[in-house]
Each structure stands twice: as C-alpha cells, then as structure tokens.
C-alpha cells in the first residue's frame, strides 16, 4: 500500500519540484551567479558555468522526480521532467519581460542588460524566451530520462558528465599544474580551450571516463573478489605496499603539483595542524572551543617577536624560536582554561569565542602597538632556513609543514588510545560520571587545552615565517570557525577526518578562488549540504559510527516517527 503511493505518479509532487527548480533558477539569476559566469566556459564556446547554474535546477529536479517515481512508467516520468523544466523557465521569462519596464536593476544590480541578453540567447524577447523555455524543458526531460536508463549505461554516463564538468571547471588550475614544456604544451593546446576544455578535449575526457567506468562496472567486482581471495599475508603486503606508495607520493607531491598547488597544500597543512589540535579539545575531550585562533595568534606573534623582525627582541632563528612559540601557546592555553574549567557546553563556546576576540583586539590595539605593531602588523619576519639555505618557495616549506603534520598526527594517534585519550572520551560522554570514576577533571582538561594549543602555536609560528609579515586581521573569528567546521565535516574525533575535512573546506575553496565573491556562498551551501547528507562526517571515527548505529536502533518516540513519515 505505502509502496504504491510512493511510486505512483503524483502531479502535485511534480509541480512542487518544478516550483523548487524555478525558485532555485531564479535566485541564481538574481544573485548574479548566472550572469557573472556566463563567460567562464566549461567547454569552450559551448557550455559555460553560467549555463550550468541556469539549467542545473531543471536537470537536477527532473532527475529527482524520476528517481522518486521510479515505478510510474516511462511516459509519465518523461512528461513530468518536461513539466518541471518548463516550470523552472517560466519565472525567468517573466524576469526577461518585466526587468526593463520596472527597472529592476535599481533594486538588484545583477539584473543587468548583459544577463537579459544571455537569458534570451541574444535573440530578442519573444524568440529568446521561446528558446529558453524549450531548452529548459528538454533538459528537464533529459534529467528525468537518466534514471530510466539501465544502470550499466547510467553510471558511466553520469561519471563521464561529472568528469567533464569538474575538469572544465578546474581547467585553469590543471593547466597551472600541467606546465608548459614540450609535449605537455602540445597536449594542453589540444585538450583545453582558452578557458575550459576544448570540444575535442571534452569528448576525449568523456569517452575515457565512460570507458573506464564501464570497464570497472563489468570487472570491478571480479577484481575486488580476487583481492579478497588472496591469502592474508599477501593482503597485508598489499596494504603495506599501498601505504608505502602513499608515503612516497607525499614525499614527492610538490614535484607533481608545482608551485601554486603546493602553496594550496601548504595552507591546507597549516589548517590540518590546527584541526588536529582542536580535534583533541573538541573531538576527544568534548569541550567546544570557538576561540582557537587565540593560540594560533600567540604562536605567530611569539615567532615574530623572537626572530629578527621589525619588532623582534631576541633575534633567534626559526628553529630556536619554534619551541618558544609552542610554549607560549601552551602557557596561554593553561591560563585561558582556568576560568572555563567549570563551564560546560555553550557557555564554554561563547567564553572561548570571547578569548579569541580579546587576543585579536589586543594585538590590534593602540595600547600595545609600541611593542607589537598594532594595526601596522609586524614586517620582515625572516624565512625558515635549513643549513644556511632559506626556504622561500612553497615547495620547500611543504616539508616543514608535512613534518609538523606528521608529528601532530603521531601524537594524536598515540594519545587517542592511551589512558589519557580514554579519560578524555569519558569526559566527553559525561563529566560527572567521569569524575565519579576517579578521573582528575582538572588535569585532563588542562592537558587537552595545552596539547591542543601547542599544535596551533606551531601552526601559527610556521604561518608567520611563511608570510614574512603578520597583521592582526589574519587572526579573526573566521579562522576558529573554519577549523571547527573542518573537524566536524571531516568526522568529529577522527584523525583521517581532519585531513579530509581540511582538504574539502580549505583546499577546495582555494581551487575555486576565481569564484571570488561567491566562494563564501558556496562554502555556506556546502556546509549545509554535507552535514545534512552525512551528519557523521566524511570519514567518521569508529567510535562515532558505533554511537550513531546504536542511536538509530533506539526506538524513536511517537512524535518523531510521525513527523519523519510526513516528510
């Protein structure tokens, strides 16, 4: 009975999806995403990022509709897709018609003549609107058609399209990493257009990915089975081989990635370092800290003051100053944790947030400016040097940051399963019970804050030397928020999760730098989508997985069952 109502074709649902697509498409137009990226090609001269934003909603909602009514018959489903596409284009047509007479641009700057020109394909209002409706309807239809295909066709097709989209989107970055020598240049000119892929390149990428995906579809299971059938020793060898390969890859990464991407990885590395530190405080010990940037700032300023910089007082080298930076951050961690020892949950969050702000305002203030530069920051912080050689290039600094990350990973990993780690976990679960079990709350909390602060101090020290100059504005609340987001998106309490989270939330926005003013919009949307889709994080820890599984087996109270079924 319920199955039937779910799969039966439902025009009300189709209209709702169509309206959703319409709202999304209209919003993307009004906030300027469509117009701004109309010139940013994915496939040179054919498909631009603007087109994807313009028609993505029709395609996507058509797809969702067809999936939801998988049993509803092909004809109806396709018709539904068509209707969704049609509905999604209607507000755009209205926009085209009313924009000029109502002078919408005085309210919304992105409703510009250039946008209207794009929406009508340069064909004038009447013909242009017609084209718009037809294209959107057809794309809705195609979206609805994809789930109807048998899976061995569908999957390679989706992979192929996704690959073309991604490579086209990241074309600029890929070209940067590709280099300009001999054969590379020749291939590059062949595959890429001025912006995005060339038509030939796009077809090539599509064909290759479709081929690979089809091959994996037919053979993948067999290969997996063969690997699983290997004797345990061989399997272990295989795993160690994989790990070895990974380490080799890490060591030689800068050579493949070249300067810019290595710079991105360096930035990700600094955030991994901070993420590992915050993971101890939030992930292991369960103390929400929104002012983590304070320790980062202390590390950076200590480094700047101890080296021969503009305001330097000691003239130490990077390596001598580094332990002091870490020590200063640890000391600050110990001082800051004392007042918050008795606070819990969100009270802790706001107080730590306050600490972060206090540190930032103090380093910015006129009051301390004679000693630490105030708003003018500190210039001329020397580079990291090894054996008389200055490490200025991102490729060289990479190894310093890698070493820091590996050290932090090792420490976190050893602590996690050690006595202290288990005490932290007990603390996270229930402070009162933990105390009753004889755990020294004060000591464990102090240690969590101190170790967490140490990693951030190290990260800050490297950050200062890497930049050569520091300004108070680099140490704002956004850093704390970013670090918190990355450990939770990665999977709270999980060490690989920190790495994955940092790659996603620091690396990806870096690669999409050309989206400039829209990056934060996408970052926000990404946070929501990722958390709703995977509340446990991208790479959850074993403990968290178990807890979530246990949670789902609990019988839910009546109200929740009702409300979730309504959905």
């Amino acid at each position: 009975m319920t199955m039937e109502t779910e799969t039966r074709f439902n025009w009300g649902e189709i209209v709702r999806l169509g309206l959703l697509a319409a709202v999304i498409a209209l919003s993307l137009n009004l906030i300027g995403l469509v117009g701004t990226f109309a010139g940013r090609d994915i496939i040179g001269g054919m498909v631009s990022v603007g087109h994807v934003f313009l028609f993505g909603a029709a395609l996507g909602c058509g797809y969702i509709a067809a999936q939801r009514f998988s049993g509803g018959g092909a004809g109806n489903t396709l018709l539904g897709g068509l209707v969704i596409g049609l509905l999604s284009s209607l507000p755009l047509v209205v926009l085209v018609l009313i924009a000029e007479p109502l002078n919408l641009r005085q309210f919304m700057p992105y409703v510009s003549p250039a946008l209207l020109e794009m929406l009508t394909f340069g064909q004038g209002q009447a013909l242009g609107s017609l084209i718009l409706i037809v294209v959107a309807s057809v794309l809705g239809l195609i979206g609805a058609g994809i789930p109807l295909l048998p899976s061995r066709v569908r999957q390679p097709l989706i992979w192929g399209l996704a690959a073309v989209f991604l490579i086209g989107l990241l074309a600029e970055v890929i070209i940067l990493a590709w280099g300009n020598q001999g054969l590379g240049l020749a291939i590059r000119r062949f595959v890429f257009a001025a912006r995005g892929l060339s038509i030939l390149g796009a077809s090539l990428v599509f064909l290759i990915v479709v081929g690979l995906s089809a091959w994996w579809n037919s053979r993948g299971e067999g290969i997996k089975a063969r690997v699983n059938a290997l004797p345990p020793e061989r399997q272990r060898n295989l795993r160690w081989g994989g790990i070895g390969l990974g380490i080799l890859l890490l060591l030689f990464l800068p050579m493949f990635l070249r300067t810019y991407l290595t710079e991105v990885i360096d930035n990700v590395g600094l955030f991994i370092l901070m993420g590992l530190g915050l993971n101890i405080v939030v992930g292991f010990a369960g103390m929400l800290n929104l002012g983590y940037v304070a320790f980062f700032a202390i590390g950076a300023y200590t480094m700047a003051l101890l080296t021969p910089s503009e305001y330097g007082v000691a003239g130490l080298s990077f390596w001598t100053a580094l332990p002091f930076s870490v020590l200063a951050a640890v000391l600050m961690g110990l001082i800051l944790v004392i007042p918050v020892l008795k606070m819990r949950g969100d009270y802790l969050a706001i107080v730590t947030l306050g600490f972060g702000e206090i540190i930032r305002i103090l380093v910015l203030s006129d009051f301390l400016a004679p000693w630490i530069g105030g708003a003018q920051g500190i210039l001329k912080i020397p580079n990291v040097s090894v054996a008389g050689m200055e490490l200025v290039k991102p490729e060289h600094l990479y190894y310093v940051i890698l070493a820091g990350c590996l050290l932090a990973l090792f420490v976190s990993w050893r602590l996690r399963d050690a006595r202290l780690g288990r005490q932290w976990r007990a603390l996270r679960e229930d402070e009162d019970v933990a105390e009753a079990m004889g755990i020294n709350l004060v000591k464990t909390k102090l240690l969590a804050f101190a170790i967490g602060a140490a990693f951030a101090g190290m990260s800050g020290a490297i950050f200062a030397s890497k930049l050569g100059s520091i300004f108070p504005h680099s140490f704002n609340l956004m850093v704390s928020i970013n670090v918190l987001c990355l450990i939770i998106v990665g999977g709270i309490g999980s060490l690989p999760g920190v790495v994955v989270g940092a790659l996603f939330l620091v690396g990806l926005p870096e690669l999409l730098r050309e989206f400039a003013e829209y990056r934060m919009l996408m970052y926000g949307a990404l946070l929501i989508v990722m958390m709703v889709a995977r509340p446990e994080g991208l790479w959850p820890s074993e403990v968290m997985k178990r807890e979530l599984r246990a949670g789902s087996e609990e019988p839910l109270p009546a109200g929740f069952v009702v409300s979730s079924a309504e959905r």
């Binding site: 510009s112 006129d366 708003a375 920051g377 210039l379 050569g468 680099s474």
Partner: protein
Amino acid sequence: MKYSKALSILMLTVLLVSACAPKAAPFECTDAIGCVTIAPGDPVRIGYALVLSGPNESLGIDSRNGIEIAVGDHDTKVLEHPIELVGEDAMCSAEGGQTALTKLAADPSLIGIIGTNCSSAGEPASRIASDAGMVLLSPSNTAPSLTNPDLAWNPGYFRICHNDNIQGAAMAKYVYEELGARTAATIHDGSPYADQLQEVFANTFKEMGGTITAQEAVNVGDTDMRPILTTIAVGSPDFLYYPIFIPEGAQITRQAGDIAGLENTTLAGADGMYSPDFVEAAGDACEGMYISGPNLAFENPIYDHFLEVHLEKYGKTLSVFHAQAYDGTMMLLAAIEKVAVQDEDGTLHIGRQDIRDALYATKDFDGITGNLNCDQYGDCADPEIAVNQLQNGEYVPLWTYVP
C-alpha cells in the same frame, strides 16, 4: 642566491615557451629577468588580485570595474592581441595576498598584475610578484612601508594611490595654515591605512605647533559612536580627522552632530570616504565636511568619459579606487605597447625588465587621478593632494597642495 635560482627557472620556462612558438623571425631575449613571448592570436594576459569577498569587497569590486573599463577603452586589444584578464581574490589579509599572488605568479605568460587593495595583502604580494619578474601596480595600498627600501619595498612594485605620508601631512598643513585650527583629534578603525594616516597627520600637526587632544580608535562594525565622540568632546578640539571607511565614517559624521561639545568642531575624512555612497549614507550631516584625496577635478575629460561608461556598465558608481585601478591598467598597457618587440607574423616579445624600466620612467602620464610620475621606489601618484569640501552633496576641491 634564491633570486638567481628563481631567475634561472624562469629563464628556462621562457626559453621553452619561446622554443615552442613558431619561429618566424629570430628573436633573442637579452632581458635581465626574462621575456614573455606571445604567439600570434594569443591573448596578452593581465592579472588582478583584489579584495573580492568579505566586508571590504566593495573596494575590490570598484577597482575591478576600473580595470575592466580601462581594458574596454583599449577595445580589449593591445598591439593586435586580445587582452585577457585573470582575476584572483586577494582578500584583505597577508595570507590572501600570498596565495593569490602565488597562483598568478605561477603563470609565466602573465606580465603584470593590478593589485592589491589592502596594504596587508600588498606586502607578500609585492615580494612574490617581484621574484617572478612581474610588475604589481596597486590602486589602493597606501602604507608607506611598501615603498620604503628598508622595510617592504621590492623591485617591480608600483602604486597609483598616495603614500599615507603625503596625504596625512598635507591635511595637517591645510588644517593648521588654512583653517587656522590649533587643536585636533583623530579616530582610526584599526586598518593599517587609517592608523598610518592619522598618525602622520597627528605628528605633522604637532610639529607645526598644534595640539592633539585625543587619538582614539573604533572597531570595524561599530555603529554606536556616541560614547567615543563624547570622550573626544571633552577636549573640545577645533578639528576631528577620521580617515576611515564609509560605514563607520558615516556613523561618526551623523552622530557627531548629536554630541554636546562638538558643535564647533570641523569634521574631515580621507579618500576612503570619497564616494557618492558616503554622501548618501551620511545624509545632510556631511554638509561642509572636508575630505582629502587625490585631486579628482571633475571637469577632467577622462573622468567624465569614465563615469559615463561606468554608469552604463555597472549601474552606479562606488568609491574612489576605480580611478587608480583604471590609471594603473592604462599605465601597464602603455608600457607594454612601448617595450614590446613585434615579429612580422605578430608574435610579441616583452622583456620583463624593460616593462619595469618603462614604468619607472613614467613621466607626465595623463590619468584620471592627475599627472602620474613614478619615482625610483614606485610611488607614481600625482603628488597633488586636494582638500575637498562637501557642498550640497558634491565634492568641491578648495585647496591643492604639492609637497
């Protein structure tokens, strides 16, 4: 040593690039830091690194509009090659400047970059652009350190805006000598720009014999300025200088009128508030206020043309830094036209040191912001500072000063 290594890599890349280009006429690159070769039909690429996100983004968007209009005025072409803009968000921070410039500098076909907006981003940006052999032309870095060879100067760095040292001192001179004020107070907002400007103003004012009654600071995002203004009113200064940005500046302007003790105080700001937006945000309260800045004489024909294009293309005008960005782009394009060697088939060869030399040699360049001349450390702004007064919502230049 690091420099020579970077150079050798660069030379190698350039050689390889040129090796692959069709060899119609033999060209030998004799430039000290390498050449860029642009094959026939290929675009001349110009980068920009501006603040395009966050609370300061209107500065960057404004500058970008200036760059785009400059390129448009060149018909998107230089020496028969199309101009292509490559943009990055350098944000308003040192790390933003570093990442954006690392990305731009990794592209060996790039000749010059317009950027950055914030001096904090400019510091690492200048170093990286310089190491890569490129030139960086900033529309709004005002920190004196960037053209101070003892602090953060690098070869290849230029700016079209005023060094704070010039503007702050000019304002003090005007206030002391022309307005006859003897006591003054300042407010900054924690940005390096405002902090430096008020510091220079205060020092010059004191040297001339004036008294500074208070040097205060607000935070970005503050709205309630009445308490701080009440504190300042205690010293009842003749003059209040707050060279900050529009949101906080407009609040101070509006609220100063409500404070007992500031009725006779003359208000003044700097080019961060030189914008129709400021007039709108501050309302009637800004009438009679003084604003220092470059001498944007509004009868300037280049600017009239610019405003016309801007209005058509972007709907409305924003703050002042589009003008500097426009001039910087124009200067760079002029330098390219001057030094490029063109083969018969249209291939362009551009020496990187030649570009720098051409820019350093800029003399009497006619720009929106005046008559541009670059000195040996890349300060190119027209040294003429104008003090404008807001009369009926218009910026009316009253006094100009050339140091």
